[in-house]
């Protein structure tokens, strides 16, 4: 049992990472990774949404009518997302402004619905909660890695603090403008997948 829970928790972060292995949630990972701060809050929001909606659906799993289960899941996810959005707007306004529509778009993030449908509907609440949290964390981790490179190379800052000193700019260094545009996020993401696949040989297609 304990090993099982540990597996549930670790699997989505490395071996079965929702972004790099399942290739879900790509859209938002391109959009919100210009700055670390935004990526960080987005990661946190997704962790909360996936964790709690998995928990709620798992608690309701025996009572949900099979024919409308997708709609029920959608309602639960939408409720969680709207709650997170409202809380951010109230207590972290500037971040909520940079993330703009992407918080609302967590609803359409395939990871959330995917985990509910694949895991929470058939498992007890505790494993479902852990599974949701872990998948959110796996997503968030990739988000933060991508944002790290994009902010460092695109703006020369990390969390808004200047990292690359002015002297380097004076010597002719320039921020890479391509880094702050979405295509570069896709390229970084591709590199991460490449690295992961060269380490985990079993992921490679024959």
């Amino acid at each position: 049992m304990k090993d099982n829970l540990k597996e549930t928790l670790l699997q989505p972060i490395f071996k079965g990472n929702p972004i790099t292995v399942l290739v879900l949630g790509i859209c938002s990972s391109l959009a919100v990774t210009v700055q670390l701060k935004g990526a960080f809050v987005m990661a946190l929001s997704v962790i909360i949404v996936t964790g709690l909606s998995s928990l709620i659906v798992s608690l309701m799993r025996n009572s949900i009518p099979n024919r409308i289960r997708i709609i029920v899941q959608l309602v639960v996810v939408a409720m969680m997302v709207i709650l997170v959005d409202q809380v951010l707007k109230a207590f972290s306004y500037s971040v909520s402004k940079t993330l703009s529509v992407y918080i609302g778009l967590i609803i359409t993030n395939c990871i959330v619905m995917g985990r509910i449908e694949a895991f929470a509907l058939g498992n007890k609440p505790l494993p479902s909660l852990l599974d949701g949290l872990a998948n959110g964390a796996g997503y968030g981790m990739i988000l933060i890695i991508v944002a790290f490179f994009r902010e460092l190379l695109g703006s020369g800052t990390l969390f808004g603090f200047r990292i690359i000193p002015q002297a380097v700019y004076d010597a002719g260094y320039m921020n890479n403008g391509l880094m702050i545009l979405p295509p570069m996020a896709l390229i970084i993401l591709g590199c991460i997948i490449w690295i992961q696949r060269s380490i985990q040989k079993d992921l490679q297609e024959k």
């Binding site: 709207i82 709650l83 703009s100 545009l181």
Partner: protein, 287 residues
């Protein structure tokens, strides 16, 4: 229990939706005051940043208590209609900081919608306009801040322009946007772009101000557009011109009043001079 029956399904979905609706309604109404406060604070910050752009003594930084600074520096805040008449007051918060009233972007959007109707030919709506005017006392100078709001490339763009009392010389400007392209159109919200506005003037012609592609070449009534962001720059050009045009009656009124005051002063000076010379001749006559 049969969870697949029709009755069960209908009842289940009804109850679920009602519960979710109740939770969301409760959350929305209890968080609303915080959210409104944030929006207000954001507006105040932007207005103050524009107003203090040319000031040596006051500057808005991240740590500034913007509400307190606003209440301290504001002289009056009011609405004018499209004919330049004052049509309502905003609370300046001098008695209680919490009461500060400002026109947020959603208020500006309403005005922008009225502009569109007026441009279609319904000029009676000019009276319905409620255009916000903020007058600050900064370094013992009167600084007027007016907003602007319009459509950018992907979403709305808006800004605040600080001008001298007569609405001619620009003291500072700040712009913001909802979702212009990062690295291109989004640059209108960055320092190198908006600091160009300092010291420029609105021209007397039909076109008040230009955001020029290819460089303003030192023109008094224009700034350089953001390169690579043609549509955003053009949109900003249109937005500024539209709003300044609707504020023109108000500033024309101020300029006229100032001219009349100056004339009256001159006339007074003349009469007193005349009196003085009359007295002189009187003295001579007595001699």
């Amino acid at each position: 229990m049969n969870t697949n029956g029709n009755t069960y399904t209908v009842i289940y979905s009804t109850v679920l939706v009602m519960v979710v609706a109740a939770v969301l309604a409760f959350a929305a109404s209890s968080l609303k005051p915080f959210q409104n406060e944030n929006v207000k604070k954001e507006t105040i910050t932007k207005v103050l940043m524009a107003a203090t752009a040319s000031s040596q003594s006051v500057a808005v930084t991240e740590d500034t208590d913007v509400m307190a600074l606003y209440a301290q520096k504001i002289e009056s805040a009011f609405f004018v209609d499209g004919n330049g008449k004052v049509a309502g007051q905003m609370n300046t918060g001098r008695d209680n900081i919490k009461d500060i009233q400002v026109a947020t972007t959603s208020d500006l959007k309403k005005q922008n919608d009225i502009f569109k109707q007026i441009e279609k030919g319904d000029s009676s709506l000019l009276e319905n306009l409620r255009l916000p005017v903020y007058i600050f006392d900064i370094d013992s100078q009167k600084v007027t801040v007016i907003p602007c709001y319009g459509a950018g490339l992907w979403g709305p763009i808006w800004g605040y322009i600080a001008v001298r009392e007569d609405g001619k010389e620009i003291l500072g400007a700040i712009f913001d946007h909802k979702g212009e392209t990062p690295g291109l159109g989004a640059k209108i919200a960055e320092e190198p772009f908006y600091s160009q506005f300092k010291g420029k003037v609105f021209s007397d012609g039909a076109k008040k101000f230009s955001v020029v592609k290819g460089g303003a070449k030192g023109a008094e009534d224009g700034v350089d557009a953001v390169s690579g962001a043609t549509i955003t720059s053009q949109a900003l050009d249109v937005t500024i011109n539209t709003w300044v045009r609707y504020y023109e009656p108000y500033f024309a009124g101020i300029r006229q009043a100032a001219a009349e005051a100056a004339q009256a002063l001159e006339a007074e000076a003349e009469t007193s001079e005349a009196e003085a010379s009359e007295e002189e001749t009187g003295v001579e006559a007595v001699k």
